[in-house]
């Protein structure tokens, strides 16, 4: 019994890594006022690029660098369309997803069915990682530790002046500009950083989690991250535990398989749960307004009154 619980916990924490990274990325992006719906495509392209880099060099850690870079590049495209070119952000994100998923298939085609062969090295904190049950929290690859580092940075940011600047750009860009902040620059930077984290999430899936590339690898995780951003009320802390919850649901899929439940029903679980948590969030909110940044998705024209 303890073995089953321990196994479930181990795998849930791993399955949560891409959701946590991508959701944090989207929280940072949306806090600045930009809605990026290109997450799914960014993750797919970064997964393929990360796998290609790791495969070519034999160094899994280089897959992370490639993923970060690809993610930053893709979301920079979205940022440039959204901020200076004032494009419709919903459509731009969808376009990016189509292009990203397609590019990933093109890129990944030669790698289908080829195992990576090398695992990223494990870093464990002595003693703590030997604890029963929660020991798994203290052991992981560079991808896993990047998640902690990113969340630590986000918490510090949340409390610092930088966090206020970010929030001002997303809530009241006019006031931010009056205070001497370059709203456009902040939005482009936040979107690019958020995209880099999304890219790391994609690379994790191909290089660390699965150790191979296939076309359906991302499987809606990008869209689930967009939903988790709403469920997390745009707060990093809630983003982390929401990701753990969904990591558990993804893992439960496989744990429940031997019990004769339809595999299609199990495969539908994460999507059904995504709808469920948004319904719960809607009920909880009741008649209150949304917690979304006030100017989310709206282009800002400098100097306009």
């Amino acid at each position: 019994m303890t073995d089953i619980v321990q196994g479930l916990l181990d795998r849930s924490i791993q399955a949560a890594v891409p959701l946590a990274l991508a959701t944090l990325g989207e929280v940072i992006t949306e806090k600045s006022g930009v809605l990026n719906l290109g997450i799914e495509g960014t993750m797919a392209a970064s997964a393929a690029a990360g796998f290609a880099a790791a495969f070519a060099t034999g160094v899994p850690e280089l897959g992370l660098i490639a993923g970060l870079g690809t993610g930053a590049f893709f979301s920079l495209l979205h940022a440039l369309l959204s901020v200076p070119l004032k494009a419709n952000q919903t459509v731009s994100g969808l376009a990016l997803t189509m292009a990203g998923v397609g590019l990933a298939s093109l890129w990944g085609q030669p790698f289908i069915g080829k195992p990576l062969g090398a695992d990223p090295s494990l870093f464990a904190i002595p003693l703590l990682s030997n604890l029963p049950l929660i020991g798994v929290l203290f052991s992981g690859t560079i991808f896993y530790w990047l998640t902690w580092a990113a969340f630590a940075a986000a918490f510090i940011l949340h409390k610092s002046r930088l966090g206020l600047v970010l929030e001002a750009c997303g809530e009241t860009p006019k006031a931010a500009e009056a205070a001497g902040i370059s709203v456009g620059a902040v939005r482009i930077l936040a979107t690019t950083i958020g995209g880099a984290l999304t890219g790391a999430a994609g690379a994790f899936l191909a290089v660390d989690y699965g150790g191979s590339w296939n076309e359906g690898l991302v499987g809606g995780r990008g869209w689930i991250a967009v939903a988790l951003t709403i469920f997390a009320l745009w707060r990093p802390g809630r983003a982390l535990w929401s990701a753990w919850l969904f990591g558990f649901i993804f893992t439960a899929q496989f744990t429940l398989q031997p019990f004769g439940i339809s595999p299609n029903f199990l495969a539908a679980l994460p999507y059904a749960f995504t709808l469920a948590v948004l319904i719960v969030e809607g009920l909880r909110r009741g008649t209150q307004g949304s917690k979304a940044p006030g100017s989310l998705g709206m282009p800002f024209t400098s100097g306009e009154r």
Partner: protein, 357 residues
Amino acid sequence: MSRWTERTELGWKRQAAGLGLSLTGGLLLMALVFLAFGVNPFSAFARIFGGSLGSPYGLGQTLGKAVPLLLIGLGLSLPFRGRFWNIGAEGQLLSGAIVTTALALGPLAGWPPFLAWPVLFLSAAAGGMLFGWIPVMLLNRFKVNEVISTLMLNYLAYEVTQYLVLGPMRGATQSGFPYSDNIVPELVLGRIPGTAAHWMTLLLAIGLVPLVGILGGKSKTGYEIRVLGENPDAARYAGIDHNHVRLVMMGISGALAGLAGAGEILGVHYHLASPVSITSNYGFTAIIAAWLGRLHPAGIVAASLFLGALLVGGDAIKIGLQLPAATVSVFQGILLLALLAGDFFTRYRYNRGEASA
């Protein structure tokens, strides 16, 4: 402060020029992608457009793929005008396809075709409509963002379809393939000779072009949709019931996707199969058809033909150049990105010299 100012008036010449610029830009970007993957862009484009537009066979295939795109794209134009982002046409198409297959294999199997077809199409439309209403209900009751809900409903519809063809609806006559049984030959829709287009669905789609034009244009509903899209608060002050307008536009959008689903079953596949083969991604491609057609019915006709050609051309480069089918999806995404970038240069004017205040 900005040197760019928004134009107040947009003539059709300027819009056409903007569209031309975007398409050219998209083609150039795609040429770069082909180069990056070691494919000669000239031969790739020659295969894409030669395969689809260069022969009577290709043109017939293009027409066949344009029909579902037109139906779904027309439907999507209404919620998109009302700024309700229906990304769920895949699921709405599938629910139409499931309803059609279930009825055609069951109670309607022995009916005379000219009685069965209207019932099948109407039922498929109803199936799509009901599925399209779920996200409206979720938004109204629980404030669930419609982009997420329509997408998640797509995934759920995929799994339901997969479950049906592997389980309850698996055909006894399909030698183990995950298909339902085939519909009786009497119910198969006739094709225009030499094409992949089934004439009944084509006529239906063409007939709907002016109807959607009137409904989305000068009618009261069209006005309400536009106001809701441009300024939801103003719509409320004008006494427009948001939920009611959304039910209307999503009902039609879902119904038209459902019709496309019926057409795919009765005219193309003759049985229910894996969701990706039934939808062929039409639900997503039609988003581009609607946007490329500027949400105007006539524009969507042209965009559907163009995108249909692109899909047929995609099959040609898949076979000819061993590129994955997703190459077309890259092309579509890049076209849409180019279109968005081009919009800026159409909508805004650059002021030389003194920056306008």
